[in-house]
Structures are given as C-alpha cells and as structure tokens.
C-alpha cells in the first residue's frame, strides 16, 4: 500500500498476469508510468486522489472496503468482498 504492490498483486491473482503485464495494466489504468508504480512520492498522491487508501492514518481517507470498492472500479476487476457487499448491501 505504500506504492502499488497490492494493485499489481490483484492483477496477478485475478488475471494471472506476469509482472511486466500486470505493471503495464495498472500503470495504464492509473495514468502513470510503470516506473512511477514503485515511487512512493508519486503513488502517495495517486492513491489519495483515487481513494485507494494509504498506509498513514488520515481521517476521512478511504480505508478497507471503501478503498477496495474504488480499486475494483478503477482497475475494472472483481473483488470478492466488494461483490458480496453489493449483493448484501441492498435492502
């Protein structure tokens, strides 16, 4: 969560992407370069802007389920617990 490792990992586990492909995919979705993905200075801002959650405790910053819902939407992937919330979150 300091940079983009969790995001790249999600592409590996959900789409079986190899490291270069996963980095390229995430970089394209985040509109940054693949090099930027491992840059804490860049990714701190990107994660805050996109609501992906950051390691520091910032009041009001998306955390947990909120952050994962944003990650799923931007990366265009299914995250199981987010899907579960969508199913169960309706009255």
């Amino acid at each position: 969560m300091r940079t983009a490792g969790d995001l790249v990992a999600r592409m590996q586990f959900t789409q079986k992407m190899r490291i270069s492909e996963a980095k390229a995919y995430v970089a394209n979705k985040l509109k940054v370069s693949a090099q930027d993905l491992s840059d804490v200075a860049v990714m701190r801002e990107v994660r805050e802007e996109l609501g992906f959650g950051v390691v520091l405790g910032i009041p009001g910053d998306p955390k947990g389920m909120e952050a994962k819902a944003r990650i799923a939407e931007v990366l265009d992937i299914r995250i199981n617990c987010v899907e579960r919330l969508k199913r169960r979150g309706r009255a």
Partner: protein, 354 residues
C-alpha cells in the same frame, strides 16, 4: 588473497576467496542442472551472482523500478505465534496483525491462517475462520489470502483415520500403503475444497495451498485436485500453490495428474501441473543445504526457479525465506543473505514475485 564474508547454509559467517565463491556458484548451478535436467546458469549470470557476493554491503537491492510483488505465507503466525512457527509471540490480535503487515511491513498481500496451520485442522472450525475473514475484509485493503497446508501426514495413524504408509511399507504391505495414500489424498482434497468454498462465500480474495507435496506425490495430487475442483466451483477465488521442496517425493510412485506421473517432478514440471489445475500463482521451493555455502545454495535455487519461470504461463512467486530459496536455515534470517537471494531471483530467475 582477499577473502569475503558470506553465510554458510546454517547462517554462520564464513570467509571465502573470490575463486572459492565462483566455484561454489558454478557447482550449485550444475547440481540443479544435473538433478533437474535443466540448463545451468550462464556465465554472465554467474558473474552477476559473484558481484552480489563480493559486494560486502549489509543489504543489496534491485534497480529502482524493477521491484516485484511481495506475498507471504504462514498466516498471522509471525507476530502472535511462538518461535516454533518462527513467531514473536506478541499478544496482538489477528486482525491487528494483518494491519501491521499491510501498513507497516509493506506486504503486498496479507494472509490469515490458523495456528494449527493444516486444512484437516481448519475444517471443523472453519466457521470461526470465516468470521475472522469477514471482519478482516472490512478494514484491510491489500488482497487477503487464507493459508494452510494439505499436510497429508495428518491423515495417517495415529493422527488420522488411515493406516500409516511409513509403518506399512517396512512390513512389506505395499498395496495397503498405496491404498492408504490414495484414500488420504481424496480426504485431504475434500477438506481443502470444503474450507475454500466456505471462505469464498465470506468474500476471501485467494487461498494459499502451502507446502504442497510435503508428504510426497499423494500430497501434491490432493492440492492439484482440490485446486481444479475449487476453480470449477468458485472461479472468483484466487489460488496460490506453494510447494514444500524442489522435488516431489514418490512415496506412492504411481500417481499421475493429467496423464503425467508426479513423483520425481522438479519446479519446471510442477508448475505445468499447477497451471493445468487452474492455479493462479505458483510458488516454487528449493530447500537449503546447511552444509554448503549461501553462494552454492543461491545459485542452485536460482537455476531451478529460472527454469520454472521459463516454463510457466502464470506468475511465479519464488519462496525466499528461512531454509528456502537459498536462504540459510536460521530462524532470524540475515538481511545480507535474504537481500542477495532476492536480487538474484528478480534479476536472473526473472520471478514475478517473492
């Protein structure tokens, strides 16, 4: 002649000359090549490894931008379990432990696991584990995995319902020993699928089938069949398969998967079986020889894993930790050894993660 500090396989510092280090690198690579029927490391790769070990910095690293994903196994043990699980025995809750891993330790995936880290033990208490998974998913951001071992040994007497092959074989009861392993393998498969299905219902991101093959080919087969069945039932559930050794021991000897005999397989063949089963991420293991140097062990491990990466179509996360991936067998692993093995795996074996 100058000497350099390197670790022995048991973690002690030893002194070696550059020529001795190069010799060990070549011999480690050739050992893997000979056993696995794979190409040895190329000269430029040996040169790079030599550079890593002649560099006497306490920690080495990859080039900026070449970082790979860092996953973990062992669940939440390393904080709240005792030293028997290489843990710190700190009185911290399981959910807080996950938070520490994702926010303080920089892990890219986090893993929950029961203290009795085997699927046989988890099955009867899976409801408790579901509750922890559901609570954890609410407040964690990184992909959450659940880990446990197939651990076929638990299915044999005195711990399990099947006769023990280790007792049957010396008594000459070969047919009975084979049958016991086949039945235990099916039982383990049922337990893994049951646990995986329930945790998938709770919203889990991925399962970790840890130390697959630890009890031989029947153990490996249980993992493969369980992965295939889980993927058919719950395609939304990610599966990581981590091995126990570079070699699948033929305790049974006649078991096959997709028409290929499992006994005797090395990582470059193990990964093809895992892919055929639908596994998403594969974690090869190469065990450390404590009587050899870390250069020998790292070169050997990198040679095996490089062949595995080249044979794979799925991400490869090499196991690099105490006693595996070239790391010395010491429960407080040294950063000098861990960082060198990690750099070697990224730059030479071209892994997708560690």
């Amino acid at each position: 002649m100058s000497t350099y500090k390197v670790r022995a396989g048991d973690g002690r510092f030893i002194s070696m000359t550059a020529d001795e280090i190069r010799r060990d690198l070549i011999e480690g690579s050739e050992d893997a090549a000979d056993r696995g029927g794979i190409p040895p490391l190329e000269e430029n790769e040996i040169d790079r490894l030599l550079d890593l070990f002649l560099d006497q910095a306490g920690v080495v690293g990859v080039q900026i931008g070449n970082q790979v994903v860092s996953t973990q196994d062992g669940g939440d043990h390393r904080i709240n379990a005792d030293a028997g699980s290489c843990g710190l025995a700190l009185a911290i809750g399981r959910i807080q432990e996950l938070h520490l891993h994702e926010r303080a330790f920089g892990q890219d995936t986090i893993e929950l696991g029961h203290i009795d880290y085997s699927y046989k033990a988890v099955r009867p208490i899976v409801a408790q584990e579901q509750s922890y998974v559901e609570h954890a998913l609410l407040t964690t951001t990184s992909p959450l995995m659940y880990g446990a071992m197939p651990n076929l040994g638990l299915y044999y007497a005195p711990d399990g319902p099947y006769a023990n092959p280790s007792d049957l074989l010396p008594a000459g009861k070969v047919k009975e020993a084979l049958a016991a392993q086949e039945e235990a393998s099916l039982h383990a498969q049922r337990d893994i699928v049951y646990v995986g299905t329930r945790l998938a219902d709770s919203g889990l991101d991925a399962m970790n089938l840890d130390t697959s093959g630890s009890a031989g080919d029947a153990d490996f087969l249980a993992s493969l069949n369980a992965a295939e069945e889980l993927k058919a039932k719950r395609p939304d559930l990610g599966i990581e398969m981590g091995m126990a050794s570079e070699f699948v021991l033929g305790m049974h000897g006649r078991l096959s998967y997709k028409g290929e005999r499992l006994a005797g397989m090395y990582p470059h063949d193990q990964v093809r079986m895992a892919e055929a089963a639908g596994v998403d991420v594969f974690g090869p293991v190469v065990n450390t020889n404590t009587r050899r140097s870390t250069p020998w062990n790292v070169a050997r491990a990198v040679c095996f894993v490089k062949a595995c990466v080249q044979a794979a179509n799925i991400p490869i996360h090499a196991n690099v930790g105490m006693g595996v991936g070239g790391i010395p067998v010491l429960d407080t692993p040294s950063l000098d050894a861990v960082s060198r093995a990690s750099v070697a795996m990224v730059e030479i074996a071209r892994v997708d993660g560690l």
